[in-house]
């Protein structure tokens, strides 16, 4: 098994006719993902290398039974596209777009949460890869093979780095999930770690966080309460400079949370081992699971 994307995935790409949209859509299809349609308003009836393009998500869903959306449109249109996919009944919306206005994200997140029928991953994320089954997004799949490590990360490229270190130590992945680094991620560490806990193929969970916010601290509490599988963590940003934050409201809300050291401490206090470099994470994985095949 795997989580979120797999052989059941029927993908519809919003922004399929754009340069990057086309490039990554075709890479996803080449990998084996079932790409059933695309959406570009005004280009309905065209096709991209045999993939039919529709004007609206509603027609794409009706004609091609898409159940997963990938959002690949510029930031100014992205929240609207996410909401259109949700309105059309798409169950899983993976938003790659970077730079979406924070208030747009908040509105899209709030609608999805209120309606309770779709899951949003991202925005500003690299997507989801279940090696050997499906790739939705921009993760360079060639570096990863099927296996027993579930990987979840806030950063795209850091995900590849850690995943690659694990691969070099012989580990494969059940699924790799990039949740994105934006202020309002549709899906949090907690959600994905919960899915990995319930996934029979996943034997080890690796979470890859970074400074800012308190998602890692909340994940630590969740892991202590709900997760029986071993969890490893990596936190980026130990040497990052402190930001100049104006006003005091942020500090009142977040307290001391947010630094790499605070996150490491919170995780280790709940029994989650934290590697100081991507290579060390792979070494810890070997020490927990034994050398992989």
């Amino acid at each position: 098994m795997s989580i979120l994307v797999g052989t059941e995935t029927r993908l519809c790409v919003s922004g399929i006719t754009g340069r990057e949209g086309t490039f990554h859509t075709l890479r996803n299809r080449e990998y084996g993902t079932s790409v059933v349609s695309g959406v570009t308003p005004g280009k309905g009836g065209q096709s991209v290398e045999g993939i039919p393009v529709f004007d609206t998500f509603h027609s794409a869903v009706a004609e091609t039974a898409a159940n997963t959306a990938m959002i690949f449109v510029p930031p100014v249109f992205a929240a609207d596209s996410i909401l259109e996919a949700e309105d059309a009944g798409i169950e899983l919306i993976i938003a790659i777009t970077e730079g979406i206005p924070a208030h747009d994200e908040l509105r899209a997140y709030s609608v999805i949460k209120k309606n309770g029928r779709a899951r949003l991953i991202g925005p500003n994320c690299p997507g989801v890869l279940s090696p050997g089954k499906a790739n939705v997004g921009i993760i360079p799949a060639a570096f990863f093979k099927q296996g027993n490590v579930g990987l979840v990360s806030r950063s795209g490229t850091l995900t590849y780095q850690i995943g690659n270190e694990l691969a070099q130590s012989g580990f494969g992945n059940s699924t790799i999930v990039g949740i994105g680094g934006d202020p309002v991620p549709g899906t949090d560490f907690i959600d994905v770690i919960g899915l990995f806990q319930d996934d029979p193929e996943t034997e080890l969970i690796v979470m890859c966080g970074e400074i800012g916010g308190d998602a890692e601290e909340r994940a630590a509490d969740f892991i202590a309460a709900h997760v029986t599988k071993p969890v490893l963590a990596y936190i980026a940003g130990f040497t990052a400079p402190p930001g100049k934050t104006m006003g005091h409201a942020g500090a009142i809300v977040s307290g001391s949370k947010g630094t790499a050291a605070a996150k490491e401490e919170a995780l280790e206090a709940k029994g989650v081992r934290v590697g100081r470099t991507p290579t060390q994470v792979a070494e810890l994985a070997v020490s927990l699971l034994g050398a992989a095949a």
Binding site: P140, T157, L158, T159, Q161, I252, S254, T279
Partner: protein, 398 residues
């Protein structure tokens, strides 16, 4: 809630929030009908005196910098006549407050104050909703209040789909314990601040103090506003308010070129793709004994021109003795990175060594291009740890 005294003000150091000066915040408030005191900004002593003469006395001379603690630093003074305005403006203009130089003062008509409150609205990432806070303990260090008497701050999350309702304002005012006769005007003021927060796409609106005058008028006496960088394209009037004087040369250059750059104090230039990988690269270089000169995220999908441009920014810092490229391509294609670097060598002609690690999308092609270009003093490394060790060694070489 346990008191927490270790308030490390790291929000997310690589976000690029846009902080407004107090008077810019007040002018933004005024556009939404929020009552402010009459005032004018001034960049010279003469202009300050002229502004004060126009506004009237007594007036307050306030340093305009995007940092707290202005009063304690001597940056806020009450002046009774033109002579005092001249004296205070001369002292405050050019003053250093928390590392920022004061280039501007705001001259404002002094207010009579019966009560000082604290009000703020912050984009709460954790709760994924705007958080509105109100306290009667305004005009002082609100973080100390949060530590010592957290219940003195009334807090309420607003469902963004519902928006701020009158009952939210009443509830906050009653829970904070504001004077009974101003419950409604304070609630109404919170509604106006919320409207400004949404309409201007702010991530922070903070007023300390929010005052009640002896005539029982509610008014803002300060304004801290942070805007969302990603939404500025919809607010051209706000985009113009950016104060680049607080940025150094490289940071300004990088921002103009659409690169995320933070200057650090070491000698190893760093370029990577994706904030997480760049932060990780800084950590790994530091663990290898090196000191990074900068954080530079070339971003997703960087084209060759962006890479060339980034190399120029990195090398414009004279402290840089070696440069590390750490690329793991997803949306970024390694062949584009290689082309950009080759182009940069033609344009900039670097004299410092480069260590380049390319993995990910089109990496084979990227490495081939680099190998064929035979750039002087460019070292290819296959792992992040190996690349970090190599660049630290090269930077340390005499």
């Amino acid at each position: 809630m346990a008191a927490d005294r270790t308030r490390i003000r790291i929000h997310y150091s690589l976000d690029r929030p846009m902080d407004l000066l107090e008077y810019q915040g007040k002018q933004l408030f005024a556009r939404h009908g929020i009552p402010i005191s009459p005032g004018k900004p001034a960049r010279t002593v003469e202009a300050a005196v002229a502004a004060a003469d126009e506004i009237g006395y007594p007036c307050v001379v306030k340093a305009q910098v995007q940092i707290g603690g202005r009063g304690k630093a001597g940056g806020i003074k009450l002046a009774d006549d033109p002579g005092e305005v001249r004296e205070y403006a001369a002292a405050i203009l050019g003053m250093d407050i928390g590392g920022l130089t004061v280039n501007e003062v705001w001259i404002e008509l002094a207010s009579d104050i019966a009560s000082e409150y604290y009000a703020s609205i912050v984009f709460d990432r954790s709760a994924k909703a705007p958080l509105v806070m109100l306290s009667t303990k305004g005009g002082m260090d609100i973080e100390a209040v949060a530590d010592e008497d957290p219940d003195a701050i009334a807090r309420l999350h607003v469902d963004p789909l519902l928006g701020f309702q009158s009952f939210h304002g009443r509830r906050l005012a009653f829970e904070a314990g504001v004077d009974a006769d101003v419950v409604r005007p304070v609630g109404a003021m919170l509604a106006q601040l919320y409207e400004a927060f949404i309409a201007e796409e702010a991530t922070l609106v903070e007023v300390n103090p929010l005052i009640v005058t002896p005539e029982r008028v509610v008014r803002v006496l300060d304004a801290k506003v942070t805007l969302d960088d990603n939404s500025l394209f919809r607010h051209p009037e706000n985009a113009e308010l950016r104060d680049s004087s607080a940025e150094d040369e490289q940071e300004q250059m990088a921002r103009e070129r659409g690169l995320t750059y933070v200057k650090l104090d070491g000698d190893i230039g760093i370029l990577g793709n994706g904030a997480g990988l760049v932060m990780s690269t800084l950590d790994v270089v530091a663990l290898a004994g090196g000191r990074p000169a900068n954080f530079l995220d070339a971003g997703g999908g960087s084209k060759a021109e962006a890479i060339t441009s980034a190399v120029e920014v990195i090398l414009s810092d004279p402290k840089v003795k070696a440069v590390l490229f750490n690329i793991f391509g997803g949306i970024t294609r390694c062949d584009e990175v290689a082309k950009g670097l080759i182009e940069a060598f033609e344009v900039v002609k670097p004299t410092v060594p480069f260590v380049v690690r390319l993995d990910g999308t089109n990496d084979v092609e990227g490495r081939r291009l680099l190998a064929e270009a035979k750039l002087p003093n460019v070292h290819a490394e296959s792992t992040m740890d190996g690349a970090a060790k190599k660049v630290v060694e090269l930077a340390a070489a005499p």
